[in-house]
């Protein structure tokens, strides 16, 4: 199960944070700080998996942004690594050549996309087409 997903830039500024388990406010910031520290200076040749407390963080860097997923120890690391990539592909499709700035200005939309992709800590939909279509329906409202 996914515990949380974080998007942070190199400076550690949170661009998106979604938690699928309840955490105290103070704990949230600590988690974000710790995850950033864990991933930001890791050698790119190293694995994309880091132990984090009793779970593990699967992260992947795109340009200046780090996408980090915290999952259970028993989960399939590579599959979650690819799910990050799938998410980025969806974002890229939605925003057309997505860049960090898109995510900054439209973070609320990113949350909506995420809600179509992951729900209750599990991948609920893995078809890019289905998600894009759903977002199209939501966009029509604007």
């Amino acid at each position: 199960m996914i515990r949380f997903i974080l998007l942070q830039n190199r400076q550690g500024k949170t661009r998106l944070a979604k938690y699928y388990i309840p955490l105290e406010e103070s704990e949230l910031h600590k988690v974000e700080y710790e995850v950033h520290r864990l991933v930001v200076n890791r050698d790119p040749k190293f694995t994309n998996f880091v132990e984090f407390r009793t779970h593990k963080v699967i992260y992947r860097r795109y340009a200046g942004l780090f996408f980090s997923l915290c999952v259970d120890i028993t989960d399939n690391e590579l599959a979650y690594l690819e799910s990050i990539h799938l998410f980025v592909e969806i974002l890229d499709h939605f925003f057309t050549n997505v860049c960090e700035l898109d995510l900054v200005f439209n973070f609320h939309k990113v949350y909506l996309i995420l809600d179509e992709f992951i729900l209750a800590g599990e991948l609920q939909e893995t078809s890019k087409k289905a998600i894009i279509e759903r977002m199209g329906e939501l966009e029509k409202l604007d």
Partner: protein
């Protein structure tokens, strides 16, 4: 679609983001945010604010909170927004509440009603928004309020709604398994849903249910196999393909389910062999996702009833993983190997050099995974090498969490496989020296016990040799500064018991040493208590042997100090020590018999010698004693240990009330004062109990103690000696559990396969391997053939086995507990980071950062080469998987599809626009738009405009 039309926010919002992006310091940023908070407060509270504006304010509020500031003043406005009729506002309201609120927030009660209404809405978008909120905000108490509607929605005509309804029920079953137990048939039905997305979603709850009890779902094996077959045959819509693999995420979930169903079930396994074999054959091992499926297949094969053909295929796949250059694949290879050696221990042998490479890798994640493997393949012939390596690593790390784990593994392996006692004691000394306070206290007792009991009954010389060497090593070690308290306790005990046993050291020498220990640790009452008792033993041995005894001056001053101690325990020990001197030899011998720690003492637990007295009292009209359990009307009570065992194994919330713990009897019986004739473990626990009254319970609820006092199960300090009963299911205990959820260590780590094989043979397979590596490999993998000739840890081991029968159990059970313990106070920030992380982020050269965009373009790549064309590097470089291009059908993807998969696609830094392909124009427009709104990339983050997938 998307944001081509602009960002859709007001100038004000864009300015806010811009100014925050450009702020030079945290203080400046805080000022900006605080100003924004003030603005929002005024505007949100202004009744005249138009609704469409409100929506943006709520989004700005989200932004403020994401920056780490408190936005709680606006939560109520977000809640109000969910009530709005306008779908856009409602959706924004739901989005905001799911991000702002936790399921136990007070405002939830105001939303439940709206959710109920919205779940019945005709507009499926409203229903979806409400379902998203249900997944996040509905707690155990509110489940019944929405459950009927959510179940109805399983039959909704829109697949998006059905899917979300399945996920909501999945959430419910996690939170309160009882609440949906009658709905299992619905999940089964959803497997046959027309929409693959709904089917995929239904796998999540089914996985959990099968994980809990596989036997009930054996009939589904055929269905799962069929679905998997259809997926593998590409019968699902093309849109589920990802990097040319058909619905890989669904495949992986199905493989996970199959491995649960096939575990230990030959018949079920046989139904799966064909499809699993097919999948392994079809996997595209050049893409990440293909390897993810391959890895999951190996996991599945390793838990099914063994099938030679599949095992062979799995071994081949593992070999490929391990030979890969990618750390990710190596990591998976090591993990898969760990699973497979349970079935076929020989398989590790051919990979010995790869394993050793991983062990020496600077990447901690990989290294630790390799230690997991070594831990599982330890046997009596390689234990020395492996444990030495582990200790070496243990010393080098700072992460107390992992240190604890690896220390307890060392202890476990040493206890199980130690070739001789000498080695065992040395190993334990090393572990204790560096991590004594992290390992279970039980381990210290086991060590003392081993020293006391020695090899066995018939080998006294070996025993005394062992003790002498222990004493000698301790006398050497004890001079070192900063020894952990638990280790000092062991040292004091051993010195007291055996310091003068072999006559090598004089009593006054040992006593002097013990006094030094007590003096050097003025704040550690436990150590002092051990030291005084040690001194007491030595004096009484001396008195018993009839030698003239004189009180050393430093000992005298120690006694005086302790007589005035705040600790009553220390006082009492000091008084006892004083009175020892007044005894004659005969009495001293009785009180402290030499070397009698292993003697059994008969304890009359029923206190039958008091029967007469009780009888008299009753005859005189006293009330007869009613046992506590009867008084409170409890039928069955589990003791503390059962808590220890099952608690860490569940990650999920536990909703049922805690059982009333039985007052643990052994703790309450005041043992006969620290005489050496006691059972060994009692004496230390006596000390610990007295000095740290909280330490015993903290093993079972260490996680919660930091948050609030939990008084259930704790004897009341004042008043009647009853136990306060736990609240039935107060939300506060829920909160506590929830807190525990994350930091809970996983219990799977401590499960241990007992399958060992002893038939490796050491073959040197490759040349040009450094000799030391070969040696290490041989000792790790090839040593077993010698093991016949070697003195097996025969007697001692069986002995340890018998007396560890309970210790190993408890050490296993409590390993996760100790793992939690040090993390209170909450995990040290510094612990989790690698020590080498320097805080150099701000000082990074912006150009360097810019290069970073292109993800690890290696310096060897000539700057002018158009990376993507280089097909030769196709399979050699997994490291660029960060940069690998999407294979999606997007217009701007790399023109060389063949170089995409595994990242031959080195992106050319100096001409990023090449990659924009046909979308160059759009990108330019976007940049122009950005400039128009006045946002410029700040010096801090020049990446803002960079295509993430570029």
């Amino acid at each position: 679609m998307g944001s081509q039309g602009g960002f859709g926010q007001s100038k004000e919002f864009l300015d806010l983001i811009k100014s925050i992006g450009e702020s030079r310091s945290k203080a400046e940023e805080d000022r900006i945010v605080l100003r924004e908070v003030e603005t929002l407060k005024v505007r949100l509270n202004d009744p005249n604010t138009p609704k469409y504006k409100l929506k943006e304010y709520i989004i700005r509020l989200l932004y403020v909170e994401m920056l780490g500031h408190d936005a709680s003043f606006g939560y109520i406005h977000a809640v109000k927004m969910t009530h709005d009729e306008n779908l856009l506002l409602k959706r924004t309201g739901y989005l905001a509440v799911t991000l702002f609120l936790n399921e136990d927030h007070d405002l939830i009660i105001l939303i439940v009603n709206t959710i109920q209404k919205d779940l019945k809405s005709d507009n499926f978008l409203v229903v979806c928004a409400a379902l998203n909120a249900v997944c996040r905000l509905i707690n155990e108490e509110t489940i019944p309020a929405v459950l009927p509607q959510v179940v109805d929605l399983l039959g909704h005509q829109k697949e998006a709604v059905r899917k979300k309804a399945v996920m909501a029920l999945h959430r419910f079953s996690q939170k309160a398994p009882g609440s949906v137990s009658h709905l299992v048939s619905n999940f089964r039905k959803k497997l046959c849903d027309n929409d693959p997305g709904v089917m995929g979603a239904a796998l999540c709850p089914l996985f959990d249910l099968i994980n809990a009890d596989a036997d009930k779902y054996k009939d589904l094996v055929v269905s799962f196999v069929n679905i998997l077959k259809q997926v593998a045959e590409r019968r699902l819509p093309k849109s589920y393909d990802y990097h040319q693999m058909p619905a890989p995420f669904i495949q992986i979930k199905l493989l996970k389910i199959l491995s649960l169903l096939g575990t230990g079930d030959k018949k079920a396994s046989e139904q799966m062999y064909t499809i699993v074999g097919d999948i392994m054959r079809k996997c595209d091992s050049t893409s990440n996702i293909g390897n993810a499926i391959l890895y999951e297949s190996i996991c599945c094969v390793s838990s099914l009833h063994p099938n030679p053909k599949l095992l062979e295929a799995a071994a081949d796949a593992i070999a490929k993983f391990l030979k890969s250059d990618s750390h990710n694949l190596k990591y998976l290879g090591i993990d898969a190997l760990t699973r497979l050696i349970k079935i076929n221990p020989e398989i590790a042998e051919q990979h010995q050099l790869a394993v050793i490479d991983c062990l020496e890798d600077p990447d901690d994640t990989l290294k630790r995974k390799t230690f997991d493997l070594l831990y599982k393949m330890t046997n009596s012939s390689n234990v020395e090498v492996i444990v030495d390596r582990m200790i070496e690593y243990m010393i080098s790390i700072n992460d107390s969490h992992y240190k604890t784990e690896i220390a307890s593994r060392c202890v476990e392996l040493a206890e199980q496989f130690a070739p001789n006692n000498q080695w065992f004691i040395q190993t334990m000394n090393k572990v204790f020296e560096h991590a004594a306070d992290l390992v279970n206290a039980k381990v210290a007792h086991n060590l003392m016990k081993l020293i006391a009991e020695g090899f066995g009954e018939d080998d006294d010389t070996a025993d005394s040799q062992l003790r002498s060497s222990a004493v000698e090593s301790y006398l050497r070690i004890m001079g070192e500064p900063k020894l952990p308290s638990a280790f000092l306790q062991v040292i004091c005990w051993v010195l007291g018991e055996y310091g003068i046993a072999d006559g090598k050291y004089s009593a006054s020498y040992i006593i002097g040493k013990l006094c030094d220990v007590a003096e050097a640790h003025p704040d550690d009452d436990t150590v002092k208590a051990y030291a005084v008792t040690g001194i007491m033993k030595i004096y009484s041995f001396e008195i018993a042997s009839g030698k003239p005894v004189d009180l050393l001056p430093e000992c005298q001053s120690l006694i005086e100090e302790m007589l005035a101690s705040h600790s009553t325990d220390l006082q009492q020990r000091a008084y006892e020590l004083q009175s020892i001197f007044t005894l004659d030899a005969q009495a001293a011998k009785k009180i402290m018999p030499m070397d009698s720690t292993c003697d059994d003492i008969e304890i009359d637990k029923n206190l039958s010698f008091l029967d007469v007295y009780v009888q008299q009292a009753i005859e005189n009209g006293a009330q007869p004693y009613i046992p506590e359990s009867e008084r409170l009307g409890i039928s069955s009570v589990s003791d503390f240990r059962s808590h220890d065992e099952h608690e860490p194994s569940t990650h999920a919330l536990r909703f049922e009330a805690y059982e009333l713990p039985k007052p643990s009897l052994p703790h309450n019986i005041p043992p006969v004062l620290a005489s050496s004739t006691e059972l060994v473990p009692v004496e230390p626990s006596y000390v610990i109990d007295i000095l740290h009254p909280t330490s015993a319970p903290s093993a079972s609820d260490a996680g919660s103690s930091e948050l609030k006092l939990r008084l259930d199960g704790v004897q009341k300090k004042w008043g009647r000696p009853t136990y306060s009963s736990p609240a039935p299911s107060s939300s506060s205990t829920d909160l506590v559990k929830v807190q525990n959820e994350t930091p809970r260590p996983d219990s799977t780590g401590s499960s241990k396969p007992k399958t060992r094989d002893t038939s490796y043979d050491s073959r040197k397979q490759q040349n040009e391997i450094p000799p030391e590596k070969q040696k290490l490999a041989a000792s790790l993998f090839g040593g077993s053939s010698k093991s016949e000739g070697r003195h097996p840890p025969s007697q001692k081991n069986t002995k340890t086995q018998t007396h560890t029968s309970d210790k190993s159990r408890s050490s296993k059970a409590s390993a996760p507990d100790t793992a939690v313990k040090p993390s209170q106070p909450p995990p040290d920030l510094l612990d989790l980071g690698e020590p080498s992380i320097a805080s150099s982020v701000p000082s990074v050269d912006p150009f360097k950062q810019f290069e970073g965009l292109f993800d690890f373009t290696q310096e060897t790549t000539p700057p002018a080469s158009t990376g993507g064309v280089d097909g030769a590097s196709k399979d050699s470089d997994f490291t660029s998987l960060f940069a690998d291009m999407s294979l999606s059908a997007q217009s701007h993807i790399d023109p060389n599809p063949e170089s995409n998969g595994l990242g031959g696609s080195k992106v050319e830094p100096s001409s990023p626009q090449l990659n924009k392909g046909p979308n160059l124009k759009e990108a330019l427009e976007k940049d122009a738009l950005v400039r128009q709104v006045g946002v410029t990339p700040s010096g801090q983050n020049p990446n803002l405009f960079k295509d993430l997938l570029g």
